[in-house]
Amino acid sequence: MIIAQRKPLEEIKEMVASYEKVLVLGCGTCVAVCFAGGEKEAKLLASELRMARQMEGKSTQIIDHTIQRQCEWEFIDPIKELVASVDAVVSTACGIGVQGMAERFEDKPIFPGVNTTFLGMPVQPGEFVERCQACGDCILDLTGGVCPVARCAKSLMNGPCGGSQNGKCEVNPETPCAWQLIYDRLAKLGQLERMMEIMPAKNWSTSRDGGLRKIIREDLKL
């Protein structure tokens, strides 16, 4: 899922400083599951903003609401009136949701309440780790199900580099070396010979480098 992290209050306060009535809009999907911008977090942020603005003698008309997804029109459209009733919106959705809102409500300032951080999973409660970089050309079949693009600090296709020590990455001794993980996993699969194959220079044109990515599915079109 998409993992995000709440922005510091100071930054959000600054964004909405000149607006009287502000809606904190939570998103009930990815950011709710990673506890960054779901219903509870939207309530917390609204409460924080009210207290902070109260202390500054400013308007405390900060309301909160949460919709299931801010990345799909069908969930955004029903809150048209609510959005119309406020001066600005702080969206605690990921960057996709913030842009969905901004596209739908062109004359309304929509501010990001979270930093969209990565595609990953909670490996244990309270610990979220990156797993995928959406490079557009998955090679997990070759790397024992461990992604070197997202999990190696240098996105090496032919690792591990000389900085792999005791299974850890030299960039951060708490991070497992992705290529050590690949090596261990291939050993378990009885596929260590894959490590001997040279992986060619990756084609990055399917990644963000190739420009805006788009998928068209005629079968789904109305």
């Binding site: 510091p8 209050l9 309530k43 409460s47 902070a52 202390m55």
Partner: protein, 145 residues
């Protein structure tokens, strides 16, 4: 100093199996504690949400504390530990807002510790009295006046 002495408003979230019974114990043993403390009884402090804590401050509390069972002795196994982590997180939010994380605290007592319950109430009342009114409450006073 012409103002009337400041009497803090304090909200205590207490577990029904320990904090609340400790309050009872204090009663039976005729141990008095400051009247500043308003008690919110919960089935377990694991029910304390960060939002409840912020809500109390937003509505004018000068201080908040949570009274849970001793560690390792929660009636619901580990609700008290959840509460402890949430209190730590809520402290960071209160610092961020400017209310001050030191207006919030976590305590553990057993049902029999009426004296400890009273001591905690007195300690928090003194702490908050020394800190003065919460900045939120102060601001509320201004805007209403």
């Amino acid at each position: 100093m012409s103002e009337t002495p400041f009497e803090p408003e304090i909200t205590a979230f207490v577990c029904q199996y320990c904090g609340d019974m400790a309050a009872d114990s204090a009663g039976w043993n005729r141990i008095s504690y400051p009247a500043n403390v308003k008690i919110v009884r919960l089935p377990c402090t694991g029910k304390v949400d960060v939002h409840h804590i912020l809500n109390a401050f937003e509505h004018g509390a000068d201080g908040v504390y949570v009274v849970a069972c001793p560690e390792g002795n929660c009636h619901h196994i580990n609700g008290n530990l959840s509460a402890k982590r949430r209190v730590t997180y809520a402290k960071s939010l209160l610092d961020e807002v400017g209310v001050g994380g030191n207006r919030l605290e976590m305590f553990h007592v057993t049902a029999a510790q009426g004296d400890e319950f009273a001591r905690i109430a007195a300690e928090m009342t003194e702490r908050i009295r020394a800190l003065g009114p919460s900045p939120v409450r102060r601001a509320m006073g201004k805007s209403s006046g």
